[in-house]
C-alpha cells in the first residue's frame, strides 16, 4: 500500500514515509502482513467458549454445520457478538465507575486537583436522582449523587435511573420486550452467563440480552461518565482549538496524553501550566510546555480547555514518529501494544498510569486521585527532563494543523440555536419541520486500516451536510472531521447545503458539531430525547428523521454504541459488517427484522457516500411518515462545492 492509499491525511502520509525510512512498523504494515485474515473469524463462525472446541462451521456447507455441542452458525455468531457488546459496555461503564469514584473522593475532600466545576449540573442531577438538596452543602450532595450512581453498577433489580430520560414510548417498549436495563454490571454478567457452554440457544433471545447490555452502557455507564465528568471538570462550551500533528512544537517540550479518561488528563492540563515546571523547561532549553492529545482523553480536554489534538487512533504511532514527543502518557483503551516498540526507536518516554493497563518494559507511574496533581506534576517533570534527549536530526513535525470549534453539548448547542435568552430546542425542531434541515446524523467511532484513514468519516460528513443534514461527531470521527476542516464555522459555506448553511450562518456554528469523547455519545441520546420532548416530530426517537454511522469502526466499544443506538430507535450504518455474516438468520435479524421490534435496524456499507445515502433515504422516509413538508432546498450543485 502506498501512503496515499493508507490515509487521506497529509500529515499522516508524510509520517508514514518517515516511518518506512526509519524502519518503524505501523498498524498498516501489520495489517498488510495479516491479510488474508481468518475467514471463520470474519464471518463469526468460530467458537472458543468451551473445550469441546475450538469449533467452526463451514460456510460452504461441506464441513461441519454444528459445533461439538450442537451449536449452529446462528448460536455461535450471536453469542460472539453479544460478548463483544459486553466487552464494549464494560469499557465505557468502568470508565463511568472511575469518574463516580473520583467524584466521591472529591466530595469527601480526599483529592487534590479537582473541584466541582458545574454546580448547576450537580443540583439538577441530585433532583433527578431524588436526592434532597435542602440545607445540604454541595459536598454532601455530591457524595449522595456519587453513592446513588455507584449503586446503579451493582443494582440487581429495577431500572437504571437515566433510562427514564428516554421518551415514555421508548421506555414502554423496552419493558414490553424485556430489554429495560436493570443494573450495569448485572447485564454484562448475564451476557457472560448466557453465552457460556449450554445456556442460551436462541439467537433472538441472545441478541435481546445484547441490546439490554448495550442500553446499560448508553443510558448507564457512558451517561454516568459524561454527566459526572461535567460536574467535576465543567460542562463544555464552544471553544476554539487546533488539530493534527502540526500542533507539536519544535522548540517546546511536547507532552502527549493518549487514552480515554479525563481524570488524569485534566490535572495534567493544570500541571503543564505550573510556572515552576515551565521555568524548568526553559532551563532545559525549551521555550515552554506544549500539551496535546490523542483519542478520547484528548477530546475530553479539548472540549473543556481547548487543548490541541495531535491526532486520532491511527496516528498514535505517527505522533511518536515525529521524534518530537518527549513523553506520551497513556491510561486505558485503544492504546496499541505496539507503542512501546515505536517509542524505543525514538527518545520518547512512554508512561503507563492505570493499574488496569500496564505494558512490559514501559515505565509505570500509577495514578491515584488522592494525589492527582502531585503525580501529574511528576509526569510533566519527566517530560521536561527528557527534552535534552531529543535528537534534532530525527525531528519531523508535519506542517498540517487545522482550526476547529468544539465543545458542543446537549445543553449548549441546541439551546444555542434558540439564542441565549430563550434557551429551547424549538428552533432546531422548527428547522427540521420546515424542511430547512433535512434531519440530523451522528458519525462516530474509530479508525481501521481496513478503510482508508479518515476517508470514511470525512466523505460521509461532506455528503450529509451537502444534503442539509446536520452532523454531530464524537471520538476519532470528530478528530478526522476536524482535520478536514469541517469543524470550522466557515465549512458551512464551502460544504453545506443551502438550508444547513443558513442555520450555521444565523447561529454561527459549524455544520459538523463536536459533542465529545466516545462516552459522550450519551450526549446524542439526551439530545434526541430533548428533540422528542420539544414536540412536533413524533413521540419516540425511532420517529425522528435521524441516523447514525460508524464508518471506520474496529473496537468492541463501537459494537456496544451501535447497539444502544439501534435499541434506542436510531437506524445505524456500519462501515464494516459485524462478524456475523456467516449466519443468514442473525444477519437478517439485525439488518431487517429488528425494525419490527425496536423500530430501527443496522445496515453495512463500506462506501461512505453510499452509506450517507442510506442515511439520507432513511431520513427522507421518516420525514414522509411524519408528514413533514418537503425539504426546502434541492441538493447543491457540485460545481459550487468545488468537488472534483
Amino acid at each position: 500500500m502506498r501512503e496515499e492509499e493508507k490515509s487521506i491525511d497529509k500529515a499522516s502520509q508524510e509520517l508514514l514515509k518517515i516511518a518506512e525510512r526509519e524502519g518503524v512498523d505501523t498498524a498498516w504494515d501489520r495489517y498488510e502482513a495479516m491479510v488474508p485474515q481468518c475467514g471463520f473469524g470474519e464471518l463469526g463462525l468460530c467458537c472458543r467458549n468451551c473445550l469441546l472446541g475450538p469449533c467452526r462451521i463451514d460456510p460452504f456447507e461441506e464441513g461441519p454445520q454444528r459445533g461439538v455441542c450442537g451449536a449452529t452458525a446462528e448460536i455461535i455468531s450471536a453469542r460472539n457478538l453479544i460478548r463483544m457488546i459486553a466487552a464494549g459496555a464494560s469499557a465505557h461503564s468502568d470508565h463511568g465507575r472511575d469518574i463516580a469514584h473520583t467524584l466521591l473522593l472529591t466530595a469527601q475532600g480526599k483529592t487534590k486537583g479537582y473541584g466541582m466545576k458545574d454546580e448547576e449540573k450537580l443540583f439538577s442531577l441530585a433532583n433527578e436522582l431524588e436526592i434532597k438538596t435542602d440545607g445540604k452543602d454541595r459536598k454532601e450532595i455530591a457524595m449522595e449523587v456519587a453513592e446513588k450512581v455507584f449503586s446503579e453498577f451493582g443494582q440487581q433489580q429495577g431500572e437504571l435511573q437515566f433510562s427514564h430520560r428516554a421518551p415514555e414510548r421508548r421506555q414502554a417498549l423496552w419493558r414490553k420486550i424485556g430489554i429495560m436495563p436493570r443494573g450495569i454490571d448485572r447485564e454484562i454478567v448475564e451476557v457472560m452467563h448466557r453465552t457460556t457452554m449450554g445456556v442460551d440457544s436462541d439467537f433472538t433471545n441472545l441478541i435481546n440480552q445484547g441490546m439490554r447490555t448495550a442500553l446499560s452502557d448508553g443510558w448507564g455507564g457512558s451517561m454516568i461518565a459524561t454527566e459526572l465528568s461535567d460536574v467535576l471538570f465543567g460542562t463544555p462550551r464552544p471553544i476554539r482549538a487546533k488539530v493534527n500533528l502540526g500542533v507539536l512544537k519544535e522548540d517546546e517540550v511536547n507532552l502527549v496524553v493518549h487514552g480515554h479518561e479525563p481524570t488524569l488528563s485534566d490535572v495534567i492540563v493544570t500541571a503543564s501550566q505550573d510556572p515552576e515546571l515551565i521555568e524548568l523547561a526553559r532551563k532545559n532549553g525549551a521555550k515552554g510546555i506544549n500539551l496535546a492529545g490523542i483519542c478520547c482523553t484528548a477530546n475530553e480536554i479539548l472540549m473543556r480547555h481547548g487543548i490541541p489534538i495531535a491526532g486520532n487512533f491511527l496516528q498514535q504511532e505517527l505522533a511518536i514518529t515525529t521524534g518530537a514527543v518527549e513523553l506520551m502518557l497513556v491510561d486505558v483503551q485503544c492504546i496499541m501494544p505496539a507503542l512501546s516498540s515505536v517509542a524505543n526507536c525514538f527518545h520518547t518516554k512512554l508512561v503507563s498510569t492505570s493499574p488496569k493497563a500496564k505494558f512490559p518494559g514501559v515505565e509505570h507511574v500509577e495514578f491515584r486521585e488522592e494525589e492527582a496533581l502531585l503525580i501529574a506534576k511528576k509526569i510533566v517533570r519527566m517530560a521536561v527532563e527528557n527534552f535534552k534527549n531529543r535528537v534534532k536530526e530525527k525531528v519531523n513535525i508535519p506542517k498540517e494543523k487545522m482550526d476547529l470549534v468544539a465543545g458542543f453539548t446537549a445543553e449548549s448547542v441546541f439551546r444555542f440555536l434558540g439564542g441565549k435568552y430563550r434557551a429551547t430546542y424549538r428552533p432546531l425542531n422548527d428547522a427540521i419541520i420546515s424542511g430547512r434541515l433535512r434531519g440530523a446524523a451522528g458519525i462516530v467511532g474509530c479508525n481501521n486500516p481496513k478503510i482508508k484513514h479518515d476517508w470514511g468519516h470525512v466523505e460521509m460528513a461532506k455528503e450529509l451536510i451537502k444534503n442539509d443534514v446536520l452532523v454531530v461527531v464524537t471520538g476519532c470521527s470528530a478528530i478526522a472531521n476536524a482535520k478536514a476542516g469541517l469543524l470550522k464555522p466557515k465549512a458551512a459555506f464551502e460544504y453545506a447545503g443551502k438550508g444547513l448553511r443558513e442555520i450555521c450562518e444565523a447561529v454561527g456554528v459549524p455544520p459538523v458539531l463536536h459533542v465529545g469523547s466516545c462516552v459522550d455519545n450519551s450526549r446524542i441520546l439526551i439530545t434526541l430525547c430533548n428533540v422528542v420532548a420539544e414536540g412536533g416530530l413524533g413521540d419516540d426517537i425511532s420517529e425522528l428523521p435521524v441516523a447514525g454511522a460508524a464508518p471506520e469502526w474496529m473496537s468492541e466499544k463501537a459494537v456496544a454504541i451501535a447497539f444502544y443506538f439501534v435499541a434506542s430507535g436510531v437506524f445505524t450504518v456500519l462501515g464494516n459488517p459485524f462478524p456475523i455474516l456467516g449466519s443468514r438468520e442473525v444477519t437478517d435479524l439485525l439488518t431487517r427484522r429488528l425494525k419490527d421490534t425496536v423500530g430501527a435496524n443496522f445496515a453495512f456499507e463500506s462506501d461512505p457516500i453510499k452509506a450517507a445515502h442510506l442515511m439520507i433515504d432513511h431520513i427522507n422516509e421518516k420525514r414522509e411518515s411524519l408528514k413533514l413538508k418537503p425539504v426546502m432546498y434541492k441538493e447543491r450543485e457540485k460545481v459550487i462545492l468545488g468537488v472534483e
Binding site: C38, F40, E42, P59, F60, E62, L581
Partner: protein, 174 residues
C-alpha cells in the same frame, strides 16, 4: 510462475483458512461474505486431513504421469507440460468417476450437481499473473508454500548439511 505446493505438516494448525480461501477463489464474486450466498455454493479443492497429531492440507499433486489423465476415457483430463497443472475440461467429463477411483491421494471429487469431477488446478490463472495459489497465500503459518522444483531439493540439501555438521560436532564433543 511455476512450481509445486510444498507442505510442512509440522506447521499446519488445521485452521482451514486454505479451504475457505480456496472456495472463495472458485466463487463468482471472489468475496467471502458474498460467496457464502451464491448458488451453487463454491466448492473447495483441498481438504485438511489429520492423522494422529498431524494435520495435513491435501490437494492434487499434479502428477507427471497422472493416473487420472491415463484412465479418463473422454480425454477430459490433461496436462500440457512439466510443472504445469493437470486440468479438467468440464464439458468433456462424462462423470464416470474412474479418476476418483485411481487417484492415489483421494483429492478428486464430484461437484455438487454430480455433473463433473473437480480437483485443484493449482490456481493456474493466478500463476499466470505471477501470484501463488490462493491456499498458499491464505496460510497464516506458512505450512503451505509455493516452491520450484529446484528450490525444494536445494533447501533439503542445506537442511541435511546443517544436521550432518551438527552431528559431527556432537560426535567430536563426546
Amino acid at each position: 510462475m511455476r512450481g509445486i505446493i510444498f507442505i510442512d505438516p509440522q506447521k499446519c494448525l488445521a485452521c482451514k483458512s486454505c479451504e475457505l480461501r480456496c472456495a472463495v477463489e472458485l466463487s463468482k464474486s471472489k468475496d467471502l461474505p458474498q460467496a457464502i450466498d451464491e448458488y451453487p455454493l463454491p466448492q473447495r479443492r483441498l481438504k485438511v486431513e489429520s492423522v494422529a497429531e498431524l494435520a495435513i492440507p491435501l490437494q492434487c499433486r499434479q502428477c507427471e504421469d497422472a493416473p487420472c489423465v491415463r484412465i479418463c476415457p473422454s480425454k477430459a483430463i490433461e496436462r500440457t507440460e512439466v510443472e504445469q497443472p493437470v486440468l479438467i475440461k468440464e464439458q468433456l467429463c462424462i462423470g464416470c468417476k474412474w479418476c476418483i477411483l485411481v487417484c492415489p491421494f483421494g483429492v478428486i471429487g464430484m461437484d455438487r450437481e454430480g455433473k463433473a469431477v473437480i480437483k485443484c488446478d493449482l490456481c493456474f490463472e493466478r500463476l499466470k499473473g505471477n501470484k501463488p495459489p490462493v491456499c498458499v497465500q491464505a496460510c497464516p503459518t506458512k505450512a503451505l508454500q509455493f516452491k520450484t522444483l529446484e528450490e525444494v531439493p536445494a533447501e533439503k540439501r542445506k537442511e541435511y548439511l546443517v544436521r550432518f555438521t551438527k552431528g559431527k560436532e556432537m560426535a567430536e564433543r563426546k
